[in-house]
Each structure stands twice: as C-alpha cells, then as structure tokens.
Amino acid sequence: MKRHLISAADLTRDDALLVLDTAEEMARVADRPIKKLPTLRGRTVVNLFFEDSTRTRISFEAAAKRLSADVINFSAKGSSVSKGESLKDTALTLEAMGADAVVIRHHASGAPHRLATSGWIGGSVVNAGDGTHEHPTQALLDAFTMRRHLAGAPDGGPTFHRGPGDGTGRDLEGRRITIVGDVLHSRVARSNVALLGTLGAHVTLVAPPTLLPIGVESWPCEVSYDLDAVLAKSDAVMMLRVQSERMNAAFFPTEREYARRYGLDGARMAALPEHAIVMHPGPMNRGMEITAEVADSGRCTVVEQVANGVSVRMAVLYLLLGGNEPAVATATPRTEETKQA
C-alpha cells in the first residue's frame, strides 16, 4: 500500500508540485470567514508524539481540524508509553480505535518507517520528524515559502519582499538555497536537501566540520565552511537551530565563536542579494544562530512559515486521506519487514 509520507526523498517532482499547488488552494481557506472544509469528515487522525513539540503538533492538529477530521492527540508523557509500552502495542491500540492516519514524531530515526511497514496499522503514516532522519512536511512548507517569495511574481521571479506571491505550477529550478548550522542533528536539513534537489534548486550546506554528518559528500548538494563566501549568491538562507539538547560533545568551542562564524547578523544579511529571504524552522535561539535584528526584519519568514505549515499539512492530509487511495504515490520503503506483515 502506497499511502505514507515517510521521507521527502520518496516524493517525485510531480508529487511535490501537487502538494505545493494543493497547499496554495488550502492557504486561501485561511482567508475565509469559515476556515473549515468538510472534506475529511468522519476520518480520524492520531497525533502520536513521543518527543516534545509544540508547533508541529499544533500545526497538524489545526490542519486536520480545518478539514473536519477528528483529532486524537497522544503524547508519550503521561501515557502508557511512560509505563513501558512498546511502539507495537501503542500502534495496535491506535489501530483498534480506527485511526485513518497516524502522524508520528519519534526520537528514534526510522520509527515512522517501522510503523508504516510493520503491518501493525492499516492507515496512512505521516512522519512528523524522526530522530535525526527526516521531517518531510517541514521541507514541504519551506519549499512552499520559498516558492511564494522566489517564484511568486507574475513573471515567475522573486517578489522582492512585496508580500508572498502565487507560484502555482512552478518549481525552484536554479534557485540557490543555503542551509546553515547544525546539519548533523538536523532532520530539517536532510529533508530539505532531498526535496529542494527534486524541485531543481541548488543547495549549499554551511556548517563547522564537526556539525556535518559522515557521508555528506554523497548528498546532492555542496558543502562550505565559510558563510560569508556564499551569502552574496544565495536566494534564501535557512538558519538551523543549534540543538543544545543534542550537543552532547564539544562540537564547537564556545557559543560566542559559533555565533561569530555561523550566525546571521545585520551585516551578513546586508550582503545577501536584495530579493533574498531569511528562513528558520523555529524555535529560534536569538543571539545564537540569528540576531534579533535579522529575526524581526521584513526579510525573515519565520512567522509566515508557521502559517504555511498548516496549509501544507492540510494538503498532505487531503492527498493521503481525501480519496479512496492517496493521490501522492509515495513509495512504501524497501524492506523485508513488509513480508512478515
């Protein structure tokens, strides 16, 4: 059954454009007096969160509710998971409750894949972030935001900060995207590299060598250690959060040194092309990877990314659950586990 969204790499260019174009229509619902569609009436979406998350869970919840689905929030804290229940038994419980889709966030990379291929549940699995692996809906909302700003003008070019445009039908061919910071621990970076490559963009990762994963040279992107060298030729700069909860080793000498070499301040922002935007998946560490001056500037799309997240997740839920079979042909991953099911 091909009805899951586990990895951004599973999306073809056509799939990705279908999600983004659908999200464009979903975004218009937010401007209406009644921000609700009857489309998923009677469907149940379970938000299964084993890891703390505010914005992703709320975003999925808002998306499902705007489509009239019933939403059950399940967080590991205060549930039987804290009593030692396994992922399998949790999944079987959700299946018994008739979940049509399970949105899962898990601290272990591969948990959504396991859930999707195990045969424990019959519904769709949507990966809402697993360990340091992937966060496909974040990549989709980032691409959506980029498309609105960098391909949203009537001629298909950038909007030069005159508000987001409508990039329906367009990809990100030739756009240069720079992703800066803790790539090692970032599922956002992984998903973005895959999706942006599919959409035709050129991605450059900028990070201290200690915060780049092994094997990064095989990724479809370039790598640089010098932020100032790439700023002038970037259409968008995405600042990643320094994940202090995952900084269990000496990845960089001091926070101050990190901020000086890899942080985005006003001077660096001025070096960007006039049309370029500054992005951040949130939550921001002001003064660390991004200064308040940049975060509060008109070029920073953080707040817009949150709003776009709801539209993109509505699109994903609609395309996976809106018909008798998903419109997005996301590949069910390749393992032997499917046979055991």
């Binding site: 174009d21 209406r32 609700k36 609609y318 809106g322």
Partner: protein, 185 residues
C-alpha cells in the same frame, strides 16, 4: 465532462449557437435581476469559469457596468470523494467585494445529476451569505439525482445515460462546440 474522444460524437451546438445562447442568458439575467447591479458570476472549474467570463463580457455590453466574476472549486465538497483517488484542486477566486447580500449566479457547462451544484451550494455557504443563488448552464441533459434545477438554460438536451455530452470551449479546447456521443461500454 466526459474526457474520452469519441469518433461518432455529433455537434449539437456550434460556435455561433453558443454565442447566441450566452447572449440570451445574459439578457435573461438582466431582466430577472432587474438591471443585474448586484450580480456576482461564479464559474465552476474548468469550463464554467470560461462561460462565466463570457457572460460577464455580455453583461457589460448590456448594462455598461463590470460584473464581478470569479470561480468556485467544489472538489472538497463532493459527495463521491471516497469513490475515487484524491483529486487535484482547482482555483477558487471570490471577487473582492465578496458575495454577502449579492445575487450569485453559478455557471457550469453541463447540468446532469445535480450533485456538482449541491456541492457548490455547500461551498458557497462557507464563503458568505448571498441574497439569492441562481444557476446558469449551457446544457441541461436531464437525469437529475437531486431536487435541483437551472434558472437559465442554454439548451435542453434530452439524452440517454448511454450518451456523453462534451462541451468544448476555445479557451480550453481550441474551439467552441457541444458534442453528443455514445459512451464506450
């Protein structure tokens, strides 16, 4: 409507007929709406939108005023969503002044079961509260499955369920025609 290209399809309306029919509907709208000053035309994608734009041009020719025209996608309000794979959405574009208190004229190419119009009425209810809603169609082919009727009909076309009605419009198909064909079994 039905996409299959049928060799035996027979034109029942040609380009000049369609132009005449739309002119008549425009006059009927002006007459029934007593000047049509609060009319908003909403086309149902794909071809209903082109028809709505053409009607707006005709109305402008009659009244000398621009009639607001937009589009209303009904995909997410369909009652057969679960029978088919999830469909791509079409554009919904409501004119700037909205539809509250206005006379909304829905425009579609073919009126058949009436289910599309039922979905459109649901969709309208989420967007605003029109003074009244009317329906204009190019072709009414019968076989209603719901208590719905059109206020303005281009052509009543009695058909059997084994026939297909295909509307072609220059904006989308390169030429204007209404074709009646046999369904491939």
């Amino acid at each position: 409507m039905v996409e299959d290209r049928n060799v035996s399809a027979r034109p029942v309306l040609e380009a000049p007929d369609i132009a005449r029919v739309l002119t008549r509907i425009a006059h009927e709208i002006v007459e029934r709406a007593k000047g049509a000053d609060d009319v908003v035309l909403l086309g149902i994608p794909t071809r209903g939108v082109f028809l709505a734009r053409r009607l707006a041009d005709k109305l402008a020719g009659i009244t000398g005023r621009q009639t607001p025209v937009g589009s209303l996608d009904i995909t997410m309000y369909r009652d057969d969503l679960r029978l088919k794979p999830a469909r791509a959405l079409e554009r919904t574009e409501i004119p700037g002044d909205g539809i509250d208190g206005r006379l909304v004229v829905l425009v579609d190419d073919v009126l058949f079961s009436g289910r599309t119009i039922r979905a459109a009425l649901d969709a309208l209810g989420d967007i605003g509260r029109p003074r009244a809603v009317q329906l204009a169609v190019l072709v009414d082919r019968g076989h209603r499955e719901l208590p719905i009727r059109a206020d303005y009909v281009g052509k009543n076309l009695p058909t059997s369920l084994r026939e297909t009605v295909k509307v072609q419009l220059a904006e989308n198909d390169g030429r204007d025609a209404v074709l009646l064909g046999a369904r491939d079994e």
